[in-house]
């Protein structure tokens, strides 16, 4: 089942366009290698920013996308 979630960007890997995220509600364990919308401005993808995350499959973090940063 798809989910929309807020997250806190903890790290961004530009070459693979993937992120390490703290999904709000899990402050001690992070989701890793989450694909990031390649249209987002890289300069905005800094640690600590709030991001909008769509989990197309709640059990498969690779099937997800960071769609926005604010």
């Amino acid at each position: 089942m798809s989910q929309i979630a807020r997250g806190i960007l903890r790290a961004f890997d530009a070459p693979s366009s993937t992120a390490t995220l703290e999904v709000i509600g899990s402050p001690d364990a992070y989701l890793t290698a989450v694909p990031v919308n390649r249209g987002l401005a890289v300069a905005e993808l800094v640690a600590g920013r709030i991001v909008l995350l769509i989990l197309f499959d709640e059990h498969n973090p690779a099937d997800a996308m960071v769609t926005g940063v604010f």
Partner: protein, 676 residues
């Protein structure tokens, strides 16, 4: 289906057989002990390095390092508070880790402590009553940040030491007594920021491995390793905080205890430190696998140096440096186990559903106020939320015959007072294992990489059944690149996803070997093919009479499933359905963890078979069959409905027992189709 004896099977089919009902309630709610703790003592906050062990004579030996001294204590009568607050000043010691090992075969107890950069020890040969002069184990020439001692079991004394030799070159070393001197095996200098170690050993295999838990890492974690007496082996990360998160872990301890009550669990404790919000708190976990940590209970007293869990023959002890608590071990004694006589049971209404949680209501006759003290200290203590309830159903045959059906957990206790009639009832509402599993939520996010579905489901279900070995089904051998359970997500929902994507169903029953019906190993998980296979039981006039029935024929319209994997398409088509309806109604499933054609094809077949079988095909009402389980395939014969040994699967069972003016002892069995 649970097996029936020939006599019980015969009684099920008679309309006048006398029902037998058994209700047994145990104050052991989960697949881990429920520590009903009583505080033994506490003193003004003196949280410091400490350790404790149980000597062979059962006395508790404690050590703590504070104010430049090492203090020892021996507690022979735990209920005497003064014994807990009386300390003997043994020797000078640095404020650093201490460790105690008690020999399980002799009166020997050894305490290890730190003086400067030296690891030193003192030995007692009388269960901790008196101590030898201290002596040197080894001086690594660098700060010692962790000590963990291994009981000797009649063999060589061993102490593991974490040495902070510099950034990036910290190490965990092993010192052991050769019979003439201490040997020092420094191991690999490959660790950073060590903040405590713990050691455990399987008490049933004393010559086997030492199990180490180590707090270390620039990204804070508790890791696990084994030492076989010669080499380091294995390795796993038990818990890891996100880089730059406010969380950190320290002072892990491991106890493996397998006493006579068959509790095959490892007890792992650690200190969780958080900077925002600021706290330092012990977490306690009982886990069937030493490197699994998915269920923890927080301890409500702040501690920097953690807690020690000990187990004696009759008690669990939870010891901090400045306080101690204990809880009785489960023995099935009065106050822990309650057998309810059949005379007291007036009503039973149970609903069990396939792949979903069930509910149970039991009413006990309380006209005389028998249960007025339910849940309070005393014999009725088990009548409280979280206790385990076993329900046995059967018939009087040549004797009393019954089967423990499902295991239930008490959700609420209440009273119904019918004063006008001069009667009253104790109402016990319960949920079954599946519902309990649904309630249990992930405390943090869990993510597994490259693990099989069969392995993952055991990590999801052990918290309600303890089962942690073997592959539940060949269908679950598939390895997936990633599987995660989000913080706050239901473990039951995760387990359901895993079985349903494998063409299977998950149900729980009372383990046949557990004749008591309750206990820490009473719940058995069963993974079965969904709505497939031969009939396990027959209903009809010549077999088990059907009291009433509603029979629906298949109304399946869709006959097309597409499974979209990682750039792959698997397709399942039910041609008879498509041509019969002259429609092509596709159902699409997206699962991008499937990355091979065979995987999407297999998944499409599983989804198609589920599509065929997941229909409501009516219900029957019949006398109680205590062996029947949801998910069973049964056959029905009813000539008026044109049914002759027609297969159905059991989607839901509603069991009713009532011994009032209109007595009932029957089951309403809701039916589903069969995958062909």
């Amino acid at each position: 289906m649970r097996a029936l004896t020939a006599t019980l099977a015969a009684a099920c089919r008679k309309l006048d057989a006398e029902p037998i009902v058994r209700v047994r309630i145990a104050d052991t709610p989960l697949e881990a002990p429920r520590l009903d703790l009583t505080q033994l003592y506490s003193e003004a906050s003196l949280d410091t390095y400490h350790d404790a062990a149980v000597a062979k004579d059962g006395s508790l030996v404690r050590a703590r390092a504070t104010g430049g001294r090492l203090y020892m204590q021996r507690v022979t009568t735990p209920t005497t508070a003064s014994q807990w607050s009386t300390w003997t000043d043994l020797t000078a010691a640095t404020a650093a880790p201490v460790a105690i090992a008690a020999d399980s075969l002799t009166a020997a107890v050894i305490v290890y402590y730190v003086s400067g950069t030296q690891i030193r020890y003192s030995e007692s040969l009388d269960y901790g009553a008196t101590w030898s002069a201290d002596a040197l184990v080894h001086d690594p020439g660098a700060p010692i940040v962790g000590l963990a001692a291994d009981g000797r079991y009649g063999y060589q004394a061993t102490v593991f030491a974490a040495v902070n030799a510099g950034a990036g070159v910290n190490y965990v070393a092993r010192a052991y007594w050769t019979g003439a001197a201490w040997a020092w095996d420094p191991g690999a200098a490959n660790r950073t920021a060590i903040d405590g170690i713990g050691v455990g050993r399987d008490s049933t295999a004393p010559n086997a491995y030492c199990y180490l838990v180590i707090a270390d890492g620039t990204t804070p974690r508790i890791s696990y390793q084994e030492h076989d007496g010669i080499n380091w082996q294995g390795g796993a990360v038990i818990i890891q905080a996100g880089a730059s998160s406010p969380y950190d872990y320290a002072h892990p301890r491991l106890l493996h205890q397998r006493p006579a009550d068959s509790l095959d669990r490892h007890c792992l404790t650690l200190v969780e430190r958080c900077s925002a919000p600021a706290y330092q708190r012990a977490l306690i976990s009982f886990t069937p696998v030493r490197w699994w940590l998915s269920e923890t209970v927080p301890w409500d007293h702040t501690t920097t140096y953690g807690v020690v869990i000990l187990r004696t023959a009759s008690w669990w002890y939870l010891i901090q440096s400045d306080r101690a608590h204990r809880a009785p071990a489960y023995t099935g004694a009065s106050g822990q186990l309650l057998d309810v006589s059949q005379d007291a049971v007036t009503t039973i209404a149970a609903v069990e559903q396939l792949n979903h949680g069930g509910e149970l209501l039991i009413e006990l006759d309380n006209s005389a106020g028998t249960y007025a003290t339910a849940g309070q200290a005393g014999a009725l203590r088990p009548l409280r939320t979280g206790s385990q309830l076993a329900l046995g159903l059967g018939y009087r045959t040549t004797g009393v015959e019954y089967i423990w059906t499902s295991t239930w957990w008490i959700r609420q206790i209440g009273f119904a007072d019918r004063g006008a009639r001069g009667t009253g009832a104790l109402r016990i509402t319960c949920i079954d294992t599946a519902a309990w599993h649904e309630l249990l939520r992930a405390r943090r996010q869990y993510q597994w990489s490259g693990d099989s579905l069969g392995s993952i489901i055991q990590k999801a279900w052990w918290c309600v059944c303890g089962e942690a070995s073997g592959s539940p089904s060949g269908n679950m051998a598939l390895t997936v690149p990633q599987f995660s359970v989000q913080a706050g997500a239901s473990w039951g929902a995760a387990a359901r996803r895993l079985v349903e994507s494998s063409g299977l169903d998950l149900r729980f029953t009372t383990a046949a070997a557990v004749t008591a019906g309750v206990g820490l190993t009473s719940v058995d998980p069963e993974v079965i093919d969904h709505a497939q296979g031969a009939s396990a039981y027959s209903y009809g006039p010549a077999t088990h009479p059907i009291l009433s029935g509603v029979y629906m024929q298949s109304g399946q319209i869709a006959g097309h499933v597409d499974v979209v994997g990682l750039d792959l398409l698997g397709r399942w088509l039910d041609w008879s359905r498509i041509l019969d309806q002259w429609r092509d109604l596709p159902r699409t499933v997206i699962d991008r963890s499937l990355d091979a054609q065979a995987e999407v094809d297999t998944r499409a077949t599983y989804e198609g078979l589920r599509l065929q079988a997941d229909e409501d095909l009516g219900l029957i009402v019949a006398r109680v069959n205590p062996g029947l389980q949801v998910g069973d395939v049964i056959d029905l014969t009813d000539s008026r409905a044109g049914l002759a040994a027609t297969l159905r699967h059991v989607r839901e069972i509603r069991t009713r027992y009532n011994r009032s003016s209109r007595p009932h002892f029957d089951q309403e069995i809701r039916l589903g189709g069969i995958a062909t």
